[in-house]
Amino acid sequence: MIVQVLIRAAALLAVVLSLSTSAWAQKSVTLLNVSYDPTRELYQEFNTAFAKYWQGKTSEVVTINQSHGGSGKQARAVIDGLDADVVTLALAYDIDEIYQKAKRIPADWQKRLPQNSAPYTSTIVLLVRKGNPKGIKDWDDLGKPGVSVITPNPKTSGGARWNYLAAWGYALRQPGGGEAKAKDFVASIYKNVPVLDSGARGSTTTFVERGIGDVFISWENEALLAVKELGKDKFEIIIPSVSILAEPPVTVIDKVVDKRGTRAVAQAYLEYLYTEEGQKIAAKNYYRPRLAAVAAQYAEQFPKVNLFTIDEVFGGWEKAQKTHFADGGTFDQIYQPGQ
């Protein structure tokens, strides 16, 4: 009898010890994802999925904190010392700057993940009010008098730089097109811009919530989100004849993850974007997935667009940044507040 009691007590003790040991063993970690402006909904959903996946795999509880803003501004914050474990920005140039100015990542960061570290793509479309009262059909219409255009500031917003280059690339492809004509054309568009927000989400607010402007040059995902959130009876999406392939890249910030000991989880976080689950979350949030199977599943959601790349038309981001968006570049020449 006593032996049985002792055996039961020992078994109970073993259970209690194992439970408490596992409780003690459960670690937790936080990550900071510094992202560009319109990815809030994407990463809200993605972070929940990744946290569940990671805890199932490692028993470690991971909390991902998000920071959102214009891609250029976010990159500057990381350069100035913001300890991001990962950045998921709008364009490769902004991440290159983190290497150039702060050496917080290696020079070959873009080769570390598939498809130049861009797990999803997007493009630039035109969002107009229901009924398309100004009859917007293509880029040409944006430069006409009486058309009010909403687009963010390319000095701070990555999306705005894609917008600008998409318009410029369109102009180059027109009959008789050349750099001078493209400059005049883009200048005519910016002459119609009444408000320059610092980021893409700010411009969405301006157009959608404040009711300003006739046409919004928008990330495709923002346009689809606006239609979904506010209904097809409020807005329409106009697919331009040609647009630019936007490849928002991601990377781990090496100096931060090594200091914080979060390299493994940060790497896994970005790699999860390439999994089927991650790609589906991207697609559900209107980012074009890379995985062929998922792309096929969501094909109807994404209209066919004639796309060019920044390498094809502008010779890459470094050249485009220097020519158009650096201080004294083309944008500064065509847009000066007050004129």
């Binding site: 009010s148 009444p194 408000v195 927000d197 610092s198 700010g202 301006t206 404040r210 009711g211 300003i212 507040p337 007050g338 004129q339």
Partner: protein, 502 residues
């Protein structure tokens, strides 16, 4: 005007403007009402137009733009005009909104400049960089009663003229630079860097007060009396070295341990004259600080000490001169410039200094004792001398403010218009300094150096505000020995000070 109301306005204007002829043809009564409504709407459009122009002006002034916003030519029928005005209002409101957001973001990052009772300071938004410019000036009067033998001189003087530059760089590193131009000389009193990654462990390097004397550690601007008491003669003034220090138990205790060049009692130094160093340490506690025993929360007790080796030479003896409250030298060692006739420090030098204070409401009490052991030599004769000093000082703030180790802050600063006079405090103290008998006559001349000084003093402090103070003291000191005919004459000093500190 809200967009929805404007939309309604557009609809009304459109229907009235377009439909009026039909209304005229249809019903007479309705026509009068329609006309009145039309006139009302037109008035509203004109008011809206005026508001838009005013808003344009405000935004232009804020954004510094000229002309861009003020494009009042809005051609077209009323409907288009209203829609265009509506858009203009929205654009202006949005620009205003973005402007406010940018201003708020800039304000968060912008440094702040303040000027007030604590001086002038500039601070970064995240507090990681800070600069404070402060200082204090003391204009003293020093008068001696019954000074028939003219042992001392009545004088006005600038006792201290101390500009202070202090601040923080990179969040964890404080610095302080304080010079003194009092008495027509220029001396770097403090110049140090203090690294403080944690409150319990800080590292200080440079020139500053070693952690020894209680009254010496008080700022020169926060003294209860015009001059510090006799025990301060036996503790180091400023020295160059390195120390670790910090707060423990939520500030209830502090510690400091350091290594310094070593200086004579009461003296300051910038360079060492030997390889040996002096170690200093202090522990000070407020044992009842975090208890509910309110009457004892202001009790502070501590112990400090030094241990080192002091060696002098004929030209630089490394030995002290002791001064009275009137700042007259009443003791010094023999020194005639010859090896045989000059007493020098020549060996171990240590100090032992228990200390404490008590403050409760307007009442304050401060006391300290210092014993200094110094090995000395003159010619072939050597000895270890034990000199000691102590004092006890009491104070009471007549106007009811709290007495404090860090001076009194008047509740109602001096203001003639309001009839307020600041704070008044009375103080009294007694102290003694005893030189070891063994010092006489070999190491010190008994006809020139007094063996004992016994001093008592009364003080009145008038704190006009946190930055301006007036002090008046009477200090009387009796000496044993030190005179050519026996006793050094009694010193009766009347000391005054007018101080501005910020």
């Amino acid at each position: 005007m809200r967009p929805s109301r404007l939309l309604a306005l557009v609809t009304a204007v459109t229907s009235l403007g377009v439909g009026m002829p039909r209304v005229v043809m249809a019903e007479g009564k309705t026509l009068r009402r329609a006309l009145a409504e039309k006139r009302a709407l037109e008035n509203k459009v004109e008011i809206l137009d005026r508001k838009v122009r005013e808003l344009e002006q405000r935004v232009e002034q804020s954004l510094g733009t000229t002309g861009e916003v003020r494009n009042a030519v809005v051609p077209g029928p009323r409907t288009e005009q209203v829609e265009a005005l509506d858009q203009k209002v929205r654009v202006l409101e949005r620009r205003w909104e973005l402007d406010q957001e940018q201003a708020a973001a800039k304000a968060k990052e912008a440094p702040t400049f303040t000027a007030g009772k604590d001086g002038f300071s500039l601070k970064a938004a995240d507090d990681s960089f800070r600069l404070r410019i402060g200082g204090y000036v003391q204009a003293d009067g020093r008068f001696f009663a019954d000074d028939k033998e003219r042992a001392t001189t009545d004088t006005f003087l600038l006792r201290r003229v101390r500009p202070i530059l202090e601040g923080t760089v990179g969040k964890y590193f404080d610095f302080r630079i304080m010079t003194d131009f009092g008495g027509g000389t220029a001396v770097v009193q403090d110049a140090y860097l203090d690294a403080h990654p944690w409150s319990w462990a800080r590292l200080r390097v440079g020139k500053y007060k070693p952690p020894v004397g209680l009254e010496r550690l008080q700022s020169g601007a926060e003294l209860l009396f015009v001059e510090r008491g006799l025990p301060t003669n036996l503790v180091p003034n400023r020295d160059v070295g390195v120390q670790i220090h910090g707060e423990l138990a939520g500030g209830a205790a502090t510690y400091a341990f350091g290594a310094f060049n070593g200086v004579a009692d009461g003296a300051s130094g910038d360079l060492d004259n030997s390889d040996s160093k002096e170690f200093a340490g202090r522990l000070f506690a407020h044992p009842f600080k975090h208890t509910s025993i309110e009457v004892l929360q202001g009790l502070g007790i501590g112990l400090a000490g030094t241990y080192g080796d002091q060696r002098g030479s004929t030209s630089a003896t490394a030995l002290p001169t002791f001064r009275s409250q009137g700042q007259a030298a009443f003791f010094s060692y023999r020194s005639d410039g010859t090896a045989a006739g000059t007493t020098i420090a020549n060996g171990s030098h240590s100090r032992f200094a228990p200390q404490g204070y008590y403050y409760y409401g307007p009442f304050g009490l401060l006391g300290e004792y210092v014993k200094s052991y110094q090995h000395v030599q003159r010619g072939t004769t050597a000895a270890t001398l034990e000199n000691d000093a102590w004092q006890i000082a009491a104070s009471y703030v007549l106007t009811g403010e709290n007495a404090s180790y860090r001076s009194v802050s008047p509740a109602q600063p001096f203001d003639l218009a309001k009839g307020t006079w600041g704070a008044f405090e009375v103080a009294a103290r007694y102290g003694e300094l005893d030189v070891d008998k063994v010092a006489f006559p070999i190491f010190a001349d008994p006809t020139k150096a007094a063996r004992i000084a016994e001093s008592w003093g009364l003080g009145l402090n008038w704190y006009l505000n946190r930055n301006v103070k007036f002090q008046l003291n009477y200090e009387q000191t009796d000496f044993t020995g030190g005179g050519p005919k026996g006793e050094r004459p009694k010193e009766r000093a009347i000391l005054s000070r007018f101080q501005v500190a910020f």
